[in-house]
């Protein structure tokens, strides 16, 4: 029939979607390489009049950005690791054990996933000041790992349900010790799910802005998304636009790398965790 023609149409549609995804990214890259004088010109163009690396040099010379980058990486990584470990216990229990409170836990996770985080900034602001963790890494790690937990629990329990756990017994029958069976059989089977969950959790923490501006006040814990709002031009008369975009390019790089390498797993994680259960 006309399937060859259909194939062509779907490919064309695919190209449209690829353009949809990359066009704004190209705009970001273009701005990041523009000389600041391009921004205030009366005739703004999509592409730079000349390419410059000065914007990157400029942001890397500012502690506002370098500190924020360190904060972002550190806070997101720590929150991810803790969240994934806590969720791993829960996901194992959900996938393998019968116990009271299983449904309650999954319902609670659902409620947290829908929770309006802005409703917490007031009380957390006040509580964190009382506890002395306002404007610290810990003050951000705690809400991040909490709000990442539902995603971590769902994604990982969906992966864990697919693991053929009987293989553990099979290995033991074949003479492996319990520890060997766990290490040689279960860990390799579970690792991809844990790893995928970690990527999604990291994206979640990396993205946050609301807590980052509400619960920090100085460089000591401010992450890049929050720092972007504080960028100034090199002088009063210079636009901060190229600097903000250069910083944006930098925080987008880890995302692009992870997506390029782990595309298949991320798609599997997103589609299995939320709907199939």
């Amino acid at each position: 029939m006309n399937s060859a023609k259909n194939t062509k149409w779907w490919t064309l549609a695919g190209i449209v979607i690829v353009i949809y995804s990359f066009f704004p990214v190209l705009w970001m890259i273009s701005l990041a390489f523009k000389p600041p004088s391009d921004i205030v010109s009366r005739d703004p163009q999509f592409l730079p009049s000349s390419f410059t690396l000065d914007n990157f040099a400029q942001i890397f010379s500012q502690p506002l950005f370098t500190r924020a980058l360190i904060n972002s990486i550190g806070i997101a990584l720590i929150a991810t690791v803790i969240s994934v470990i806590i969720a791993m216990f829960a996901a194992y229990a959900i996938a393998r054990l019968e116990f009271p409170g299983k449904k309650v836990l999954l319902s609670l996770a659902l409620a947290i996933a829908m929770f309006p985080q802005a409703a917490l900034v007031g009380p957390l602001f006040d509580m964190w000041r009382g506890l002395g963790i306002y404007d610290t890494w810990l003050g951000l790690i705690i809400p991040y790992l909490t709000f990442a937990l539902p995603l971590s629990i769902w994604t990982m329990s969906a992966f864990f349900r697919q693991i053929p756990w009987e293989m553990e017994h099979a290995a033991q029958v074949d003479g492996a010790t319990q520890w060997q069976a766990f290490r040689k059989v279960i860990v390799p089977l579970a690792a991809p799910g844990v790893f995928t969950t970690a990527i999604l959790t990291f994206f979640f923490c990396w993205n946050d802005f609301l807590f980052a501006i509400s619960l920090t006040s100085t460089d000591s814990a401010r992450t890049v998304p929050a720092a972007l709002a504080f960028f100034q031009g090199a002088s009063y008369f210079e636009s901060p636009v190229p600097y903000i975009m250069a910083a944006s390019v930098i925080v987008t790089i880890p995302v692009v790398i992870l997506v390029l390498i782990f595309q298949r797993r991320i798609v599997a994680g997103l589609t299995s965790g939320a709907v199939k259960g």
């Binding site: 205030v40 216990f89 996938a95 329990s157 993205n207």
Partner: protein
């Protein structure tokens, strides 16, 4: 798999005749989930309860001595203030516009991802890029694209001098654009998961019976993925309802583009008016509960798959 196989063995956990093994399993299950329970309740339920208490007081951090019990008057002040209703309308408008467009666009993306033969991998990689981009970055990208001085949009549309952020609805348009660009990939992947579960032979049968592609979409495909659509809608609606980053970066709430989350932030953090701010927080929470209730009770959204109890 294992879980479903072992379940019949412990059909009646309430009975006293629980085996030693089953009791051990129950205990282990509780221990393993305890940290999750503790974290989620301590970091959300407790502060929410605290907000509930604070909302009954007149309490500013700048004037700690002036703290006094005022009952429900904070709520009365907010609900009779046009600012709240303005923000409510802004939030509702953004939610309805973005979710409706994302649903249609996301469905189309899902179809393309399912049917495309050449370049399936690169397409999925491309679609994940907006999903992974930091929301604030997306907001800046779109803001600068539409800005009077730096943007190319006015140039391309021949609108030189038009200030997109100077008017409520044109600003909301750009806010929605950024929101849609960033989140459509996510909704399309949720829909794709539902789409692949629609049996292919049903499609074929409808085709043989002479149904057009349009009829097949409405009579076969969509009804069969209703659960996935409703779950995606619920998630996206509540996500859009708490929109914060895009308006913050683009307009900072100017020209009546402030959403409710921003009002909560402004009262609590900028003005440190914790009494009034907490009342906004509680009201924001209640609107979310109401939306979730509507989805679950009125639209009968089936969450059993999300909760994992098949």
């Amino acid at each position: 798999m294992t879980a479903t196989q072992t379940r019949p063995l412990q059909q009646d956990p309430g009975k006293a005749a629980l085996s030693e093994r089953a009791r051990g399993e129950r205990r282990l299950g509780i221990y393993l989930t305890l940290p999750s329970y503790a974290v989620m309740l301590l970091v959300t339920a407790y502060p929410l309860g605290y907000a509930l208490v604070l909302s009954l007081y007149n309490f500013r951090l700048t004037d700690p001595g002036g703290r006094s019990f005022v009952g429900l008057s904070n709520y009365l002040v907010i609900l009779t203030d046009p600012v709240w209703w303005n923000d409510f309308v802004t939030t509702a408008a953004i939610t309805v516009i973005t979710v409706a467009i994302e649903l249609v666009l996301g469905l189309w993306f899902a179809f393309v991802m399912l049917r495309i033969i050449r370049g399936r991998g690169p397409l999925r990689t491309a679609i994940l890029i907006p999903y992974g981009i930091v929301t604030v970055v997306s907001a800046f990208i779109w803001r600068y694209a539409f800005a009077i001085d730096s943007g190319f949009v006015n140039q391309w549309l021949n609108l030189t001098g038009f200030d997109w952020f100077g008017d409520r609805w044109s600003a909301i348009f750009v806010i929605c654009l950024s929101e849609i660009w960033k989140t459509t990939p996510f909704i399309s992947l949720l829909l794709l998961a539902g789409l692949v579960q629609v049996p292919e032979d049903m499609q074929e049968a409808a085709k043989v019976d002479g149904a057009t592609a349009w009829q097949r979409l409405w009579k076969v495909t969509l009804p069969n993925m209703k659960a996935a659509i409703m779950v995606a809608l619920l998630f996206r609606t509540l996500d859009a309802w708490r929109i914060f980053d895009n308006p913050y970066v683009m307009t900072a709430g100017a020209n009546n583009t402030e959403p409710i989350s921003f009002l909560a932030y402004r009262q609590n953090v900028t003005l440190v008016n914790l009494g009034m701010g907490s009342a906004v927080s509680v009201l924001l929470f209640l609107t979310v509960v109401a939306i979730a209730w509507i989805f679950i009770k009125v639209f009968k959204t089936d969450l059993s798959q999300v909760r994992g109890d098949q």
